[in-house]
Symmetry: C2
Subunit: 602 residues, 2 copies
């Protein structure tokens, strides 16, 4: 039976027929690999996700973690899933061999990991955070820190979190107030004690692992104001003994759990640090170990943040994808109504997939889910190319592209794969609104994605305020060159695909012109006022390009799968890309409606 | 303190300054009323909704009704709210005086009722269904039925349901299989026994009232096929004795409760009829009383269905409205970040309402919520004018308008006020995703509205397949005449409002042209293929017209409230109406992408 999580056929098309990931094995870092090893990982992940993750997705939604004042209880299936994943050595799947990792390309690792997100985004969250934490420590941690914290995480004995936000500092990290005081006595030299609190920290309390490695942002007194005075610390739940064994309970404790609309299976916590709930070494204060240099915390975090943002995008894609497949199955099996032009009440009802409006809702989902998957795998391939760049020129070009595409990779699926889940409910009708079916949970789970790891608005400011103007528009130019190459290739083929190329080219040129018009008057407030609409238009144009690339990869190929790709591309070009025209007109006009609106007029 | 449910100021603007509902008192039916009685009802409803309904909205979401196999338990606050509403004689608020009703205009009654939906859409559902049921019986029930069932409902002793759908017949009512067998022995003459099952029936099991009056669609054997063979029956939970007292338990029983994503406070049931769970009169079969004539059930239901559809639209508006007010309050109180053009980390954070993107999200909500409220009150006024038409010409014109606007009144708010709730969450950031705040529940509750009482797709077929072509396009012409009159009035004023008039006129003319182009080739399948997109474009143009009417009513008036109306109208014309241009282009092209898509290509 075909999986209802993701389409393996589509993954193979994207990885091998389009992105030619097998060619990455020519690069040193991936030379131990082959299509066989990639396929084996994809097989394994599909199996584990299906067996250990999908099976308790509903149960963990209906039985969210509970806190009795001391311990947090999570349903036992989460631990079984954690163990299955860890025992398969998947936590280290893209880590360096020197750390015991499998050194898989990010492109393959992301595709493989998507099976888990599609199966159970909450349980997968514990793993994703641990992997992101480990990835950060592998780059910026000391040898001792790698030994003491990273390796137990890779083995699945410890788990990790990313503790950035505070109640008064979510989008605005500059305003965190957690402070880290250096300890000068002999026994503590090099260590810090942290005092403050953290908000929205996922996975920071549970009994799944022997220890929890919190990566905490805090300010060392006397440092610069704003984000330039923020440092990064390891603050473990249990302080380690000199021999690396789990020792005293650290003074970082759960103040409470946040109860969310979705993603209920993963604890989301409020943490207190240094309130004296525990007294490691005989006194209050959360023991923390500085990572790297003081005041460089935001820079370290942002390396990971970009990966985390793409991870959020992939999570959104996975939910959109599984919702699409489930509503497709439903539409094929559910009889209701008769053809518009041949209504005969005595004739049997037809499966709803025969109704044009249902096909529209399925095509839209296909375009969003497969388009999002392609976008994220494309970004992941850029990560691989950046990591293994053969020249400075290649590294520079690839980095520019990745910088430009990261806010899109995070935001576009968060918007459109949520829209896909909305359509998945609609295809199911009343059944989709019940908890008996899966799709309402996907919709609730997916609604987090436009919020965390930088809201939609924050991503739009990143794109328009930072990425577009960087280095005199070098990012925009680099992306334009790629798009131009695709356009040229498709235009040469004639027919529908050439028409799509022309349409994409026109949209992109218009975007470039409008971008220049927005900045020309030198009014930053006006230029940035509609940044969210800019991101939306930009994202749709990028995904049209991604669809054109898929259509190119499918060109001359025959069969249902390729016909489906062509039809989805056609859908995107006819139904979706035209939406950007009025958006670009609005942007070009530097419309001040929102800017001029006053608080007292609401 | 200003209410966070609805804006009384806005309701007064819409009712008195725009729709001039006070002038309705010149008509006989409403001659006992005055602005004073309208205001008293609005006061009362705001107070009761705030005190008895809003207070348990969260609690009933977290504690949905439970079924122990015999009884359904609902939290006690629902009964208190029911009683408070009933004791204030509100169930009969728009019913005829001959039945003990207050004979309020529908416009005022809808505005008054919206307070309850905004406060607690689930508890309000029990009342809404009872009122719709009573309304139907008041028109089509016999004198005996009115005495036995309607009057106890108006007194709040009985409640009512509408039992249409079956598992295999949701959108396709022609396919219901519940059958009603006439009883011929003396004691049963005129009665029927019903056998079958019903699905998705809200409010059909609880202990809030002494009896539940189910209005059930069923087929009398030997009748015509399809919808023309469907009849309507009263099937009470308890059969009444000759003296009208509640007697034997009828053979209509709860098979189970559906567990929904939202609107969890109201029971949603699967019902079995005639399975012998009870044996009224000593034998199985659900006792049913025919309403009106055989085979006229769908016609009777559809009278109510139109009101029910507008009721769904108003429910969606109410949720959109309260979400808007709550996110507005949050945005005013939440400090986060600093101005784009003046970032100084040492300066204090500003309330997020000062950020342009947050103002955009609030303006959009304002445009959707206030636009939706205006649309629904406009439709309600058409109901009043139809009811009290002074001439055949007036009745005809008003009926045409109401026919055209009903699918819009149902669907537009279901789409855009849900989008408003999505934005309300986004304004709240992470907090909005938690159950600590209200907005995530509004979003879940509102997601039902594009599904029930005819899905979005069904509404679009109704609009494009039935309403647009009816009587040679008479409905389109009638609406066009109204829009033309507004355009003429606004165009004469010059300035921004005249520009809006020009823009609306162009959009409407384009819609009319495109509509003709769609039907010209005589290919029904192609014409109907994108009916959902037609509905979306049509709805946005209608609401632009509604906003232009509001701008006209605010014209020459000064003050924050009117400035806000003007700015929201400007938002709608600049950010929203232009979205229809690519939609109309797609429709004009008679695009076949969805039609041509094949099952096997997915």
């Amino acid at each position: 039976m075909k999986s209802l999580l993701l389409s393996r056929r589509d993954l193979e098309f994207l990885l091998y027929e389009w992105l030619r990931v097998d060619e990455l094995t020519r690069r040193d870092r991936f030379s131990e690999h082959s299509r066989d090893t990639y396929d084996a990982v994809l097989d394994l992940c599909e199996q584990l996700a299906t067996r250990y993750f999908a099976t308790h997705n509903k149960k963990s939604d209906a039985n969210e973690p509970t806190f009795d004042g001391e311990k947090v209880t999570v349903i036992p299936e989460v631990k079984e899933a954690w163990d299955a994943f860890a025992q398969a050595d998947l936590i280290a799947m893209s880590m360096d061999e020197r750390l015991g990792g499998a050194q898989l390309p990010a492109t393959v690792a992301q595709a493989a990991f998507a099976w888990f997100s599609a199966a159970n985004v909450s349980t997968t969250g514990y793993l994703m955070l641990t992997m992101a934490n480990a990835n950060l420590l592998s780059r910026f941690g000391s040898d001792d820190q790698i030994e003491a914290y990273l390796k137990p995480m890779l083995a699945g004995r410890f788990s990790g979190t990313m503790a950035l936000s505070e109640t008064q500092a979510g989008s605005s990290l500059a305003d965190i107030t957690t402070r880290a005081e250096p300890q000068d006595d002999d026994s503590q030299a090099g260590n810090y004690r942290l005092f403050g609190s953290k908000m929205w920290i996922s996975g920071a309390e549970h009994e799944l692992t022997d220890n929890i490695v919190n990566l905490v942002l805090a300010k060392i007194p006397g440092g610069p104001a704003g984000t330039k005075g923020i440092s990064l610390f390891i603050v473990p739940k249990y302080v380690l003994g000199d021999d690396g064994t789990v020792g005293e309970r650290n003074d970082i404790v759960l103040a409470g759990l946040n109860h969310k609309m979705g993603q209920r299976g993963i604890t989301n916590t409020v943490l207190n640090l240094g309130e004296g709930a525990f007294t490691p070494g005989g006194r209050p204060g959360a023991v923390g170990h500085l990572v790297g240099e003081p005041h460089r915390g935001i820079a370290y975090m942002f390396t990971m943040m970009n990966e985390a943002r793409l991870g959020v995008g992939m999570g959104a894609v996975s939910l959109g994808y599984t919702g699409y497949l489930k509503s497709l199955k439903y539409a094929r099996e559910r009889p209701q109504g008769r053809p518009v032009s041949a209504k005969d009440p005595a004739a049997p009802q037809v499966p709803i997939i025969e109704h044009a409006d249902v096909k529209r809702m399925l095509l839209a989902q296909k375009a969003y889910a497969e388009g999002g998957m392609a976008l994220l795998l494309y970004c992941s391939k850029l990560v691989d190319l950046q990591e293994t760049a053969q020249s400075d020129e290649e590294r520079d070009r690839v980095s520019l592209l990745l910088d430009m595409l990261t806010p899109v990779g995070k935001s576009w699926p968060s918007q459109w794969c949520l829209a896909a889940n909305d359509l998945a409910i609609q295809v199911h009708g009343g059944y989709g609104y019940t908890r008996e079916y899966d799709v309402e949970q996907h919709y609730r789970d997916n609604r987090l994605n436009p919020i965390h790891e930088g809201t939609y608005g924050i991503q739009s400011l990143d794109l328009l305020g930072r990425k577009v103007p960087m280095r005199g528009g070098a990012g925009l130019a680099a992306l334009g060159a790629e798009i131009g190459a695709t356009v040229e290739q498709a235009a040469a083929l004639g027919g529908e695909i050439a028409a799509q190329a022309t349409q994409l080219d026109a949209s992109w040129q218009r975007l470039v012109t409008v971008t220049a018009e927005m900045f020309a008057p030198g009014d930053v407030d006006a230029a940035m006022a509609n940044s969210a609409i800019y991101l939306e238009a930009f994202g749709h144009i990028v995904v049209a390009w991604i669809w054109l690339q898929q259509a190119l990869a499918a060109h001359t190929r025959t069969g249902d799968f390729y016909d489906g790709k062509r039809q989805a591309a056609q859908y995107f070009f006819r139904y979706e890309l035209p939406k950007t025209a009025p958006q670009l007109d609005l942007l070009a006009a530097l419309d001040r409606t929102t800017l001029d609106m006053r608080d007292e007029w609401f």
